[in-house]
Subunit: 573 residues, 2 copies
Amino acid sequence: MDVGHIVLSEKPQLSLFETSPAPARKPPRRKPAKKKKAGGPLTAEEMGAQQRDISVAEFFTKNRHLLGFDNATKALLTTVKEAVDNSLDAAEEAGLLPEVTVEIRPLLATNGSRSGTNGANGDPNAPERFVVAVTDNGPGVVKAQIPKIFGKLLYGSKFHRLRQSRGQQGIGISAAGMYGQLTTGQPTRIVSRTGKGKPAHKFEILVNTQKNQPEIVTDEVVEWAYDHGTRVEIALEARYQRGSHSVDEYLRQCAVANPHATFIYRAPDGLETVFERGISIQPTSPKEIKPHPYGVELGVLMKMLKTTKATKLKAFLATDFSRVSPAVASEICDVAGLSQNAWVSRIARDEADRLYQAIPKVKLRKPPTDCLAPIGAEAIRAGLTKEFEPEFVHAVTRSPSVYRGNPFSIEVGVAFGGKLKADEAVKVIRFANRVPLLYQQSACAISKSVGSVPWRNYGVQHPKGGMPVGPLVVFVHFASVWVPFTSESKEAIAHYPEILKELRLCMQDCGRVVGRHIRRQKRLADAEKKRSYIEKYLPHIGIALQEILDLTDEQREDAFGKLVEILNRSRKP
Amino acid sequence: MDVGHIVLSEKPQLSLFETSPAPARKPPRRKPAKKKKAGGPLTAEEMGAQQRDISVAEFFTKNRHLLGFDNATKALLTTVKEAVDNSLDAAEEAGLLPEVTVEIRPLLATNGSRSGTNGANGDPNAPERFVVAVTDNGPGVVKAQIPKIFGKLLYGSKFHRLRQSRGQQGIGISAAGMYGQLTTGQPTRIVSRTGKGKPAHKFEILVNTQKNQPEIVTDEVVEWAYDHGTRVEIALEARYQRGSHSVDEYLRQCAVANPHATFIYRAPDGLETVFERGISIQPTSPKEIKPHPYGVELGVLMKMLKTTKATKLKAFLATDFSRVSPAVASEICDVAGLSQNAWVSRIARDEADRLYQAIPKVKLRKPPTDCLAPIGAEAIRAGLTKEFEPEFVHAVTRSPSVYRGNPFSIEVGVAFGGKLKADEAVKVIRFANRVPLLYQQSACAISKSVGSVPWRNYGVQHPKGGMPVGPLVVFVHFASVWVPFTSESKEAIAHYPEILKELRLCMQDCGRVVGRHIRRQKRLADAEKKRSYIEKYLPHIGIALQEILDLTDEQREDAFGKLVEILNRSRKP
């Protein structure tokens, strides 16, 4: 390695618009490599001829691990998760109480035997082929939209709006179908009906990956027992297991975070589990909002100026953002040194920049909270109590905050003691918009925040640089109009500073309360110990006093009673 | 939470093609939620009307953290990295020895003052605006391709081929420009010339995010001092720092992994650092290969059958895959029970499946190795020695293996002792296709493998479930025709089982050698201790013997000499 020699640059700083800088060093000549490579070097023209478009479906087929399909176990969970997310979102938007049925069964080959798979090494642990079928009682999908929703990536209704929902990318379910197609060659099968008396449409759809377009294999009207709803069936290579990363665990956690939904689960072994809804009230449906000015990037502001329906600057600010009243809009214009009546279409980049820099100087109210649907402290406490039977439970829902213009809200619940094990790392249960996150815990902002809280101050063991250790469960729900996941597979939340801060503050709120409980428990335990000493030794002292002072039994009892009283009084704070 | 009641399903398993399953439970009726939500529930038709396409540029603008732009410090490194990757790739393809100049300087506002930024809270640590300029002496880019390469996501020459290169997605540099545009509103500026006597083209390009298409702001011919090469300038919001995740560190590691390249670095403070190339020989350029049949998915096989130029099955297998000779192709056809002369266009899904299941049953040679360009054990040893001055160094390049049909090769180097600190976690240095990986260490397959190696067997401390501790550096290079990164920001390698296995085996190869060294050192240290005891105590024994036995000085010396001899002999093995 070259350690590098350091010289102070004598060149003046270039302005951005200087295009032809005199290089500090003589520009290097074409220096042919000594060894000609096999195949021969290419010219710029030859390289240019190789350039071409990459379809987003091709991209994600090659990078299927980005979508949560990196191994056969995870592929099964991801497929179930994408379908269930869609079912819950649709039911909520339609104002229906969701009932979702998840079935997983072996894929039967045409001759009726279990269908085998490749598995490069003839490995007995090689994945098998399964069919995942998810059926809901939701509003159904109109016929024209079925092929695109299930057969095209980056297509959907949730990306372009600011409203809390589980899906947001328009990738998930079509990607699951694409993975099924990749590993079994089979199309995705959909049945959907939008209401009683309307036909139930059945489609078989493949994704044309080169074009990122659906290919309709069959399209027919069928009999279907549901009045309204959607059923999606995907055949895929997968591995079924129970345990911490399983479909079973995912549905169990789903039921905790969605007490208004019923889940029916038929596992590959035929076992059926029903998670009945706990409440029959639809949670307040989150509203769609406009962006909050704090954190909106210059480029986004410029784009909004281009596409707004408003014609004057003040009107643009007051109508296209949330929490900007006409008075506040005037103030922003003033701080930016721009006229309130400036034509939006004539705002140049430099002026947009002044506007952008004026925004943080004006005090704005926090974003509206009705775009978010937190689970609620009470429901979290109930869930934790039922699940873990702890000796103490507490939960906090923090008021919303903003990152990059997006409102978000953190909820934290803690369960302590009881049946929880004292010598294990704290169990962290993560949710984003009511969806359980089971993978990539170490990459998640939630886990990072758990590690950064000063648990020792609250009486919980906490090895330096690690996770706290103790009989503690930390339940965290991140709710936002846009969840910044670290990958398209939506398994971990990205480390935005504003999010990390709110997470930490919310955990500290809970931590302090748990700390008080732990200290009180410790005090009580100490007192209990003392009491037991008193009860153990005082009678003997009584007898000794009787012997020494020659007391009657009555006097002894009297002295004993007084001693107990005095000692009990002394151990009260 | 509902614990769930379990019932054995009485229903027979459904065949995949049964579209109208009689549900085990009576299908739920439309059950209106008790509370009507504000804004009102939507019908399927209303939801359908909201569905729309999402452009991949919109997707990545909203998810910019996926591309490595989640914070201002990382944004600077990512921008430099994407530009440098492209420079090195182009020079290598053209058979040129690369010289890459990286400049970072504050963005000057039009009035000459440093340009400020937003920073929602008026925070003094808020990011500043910088210009990153990367200039190379590569082959240049032909005029027609400049706008698309720098102004369109998912466009490039490297995605559709199997050949080791740094870039592979066709996203990086246009995404960096898009981030610059988002945070400063400025276009990407490019100057490129493809040879002496040809014009140097200067472009200013914006990305139209709604369409994912370049918008050309200016397009002109300019004077430029370079005969051939490309210069790209991006103005962006960023934070500059030195240290472990810095541009400085990145370029230093780049120089280690690319000893044939010269890097010139001008930091924002005007300091210039030059990393001169250590060798003037272009590394053997990797060749493009065809996919290896092991690990190719059924869906990919079906797509290849559709797009092949071959007409007969045997010819298809023998020409479209690597390591499939005509004889092997015949064998695969036989195992699959298909005719060698079957028309490729008539192979149905079931037959393709038989082909797919036959492949792992036929023995194939490992994939060709000339598609990979490892750094080489010697260069790794030299780099580690220069950088860390250890007492012991070792490196291994493993022969290639395959994951999902892609050949890959692992190289591991270890440095032990010397100036390295004994009480810290082992330092892991990660590279993928010669590119240093500085972020997301804990999410990377490399780190996971380091943790899974039984270091204790090699005499290195290793806390359970953690990283080993000791005066040890582990250098790992993953080279492949396709690197499976965990996100588009290309910071960590995904956990494919085949990759984890090869990583572990290669580390164990190195670990055993280090272990021998550590044991030898320990033996030598023990012997040294014994020798020092002998030298310390024997003279006294000599004197004691002289007194007891009344020896002359000469006899004493003689006895002493013999004792030394006997003891020295006894401590040899």
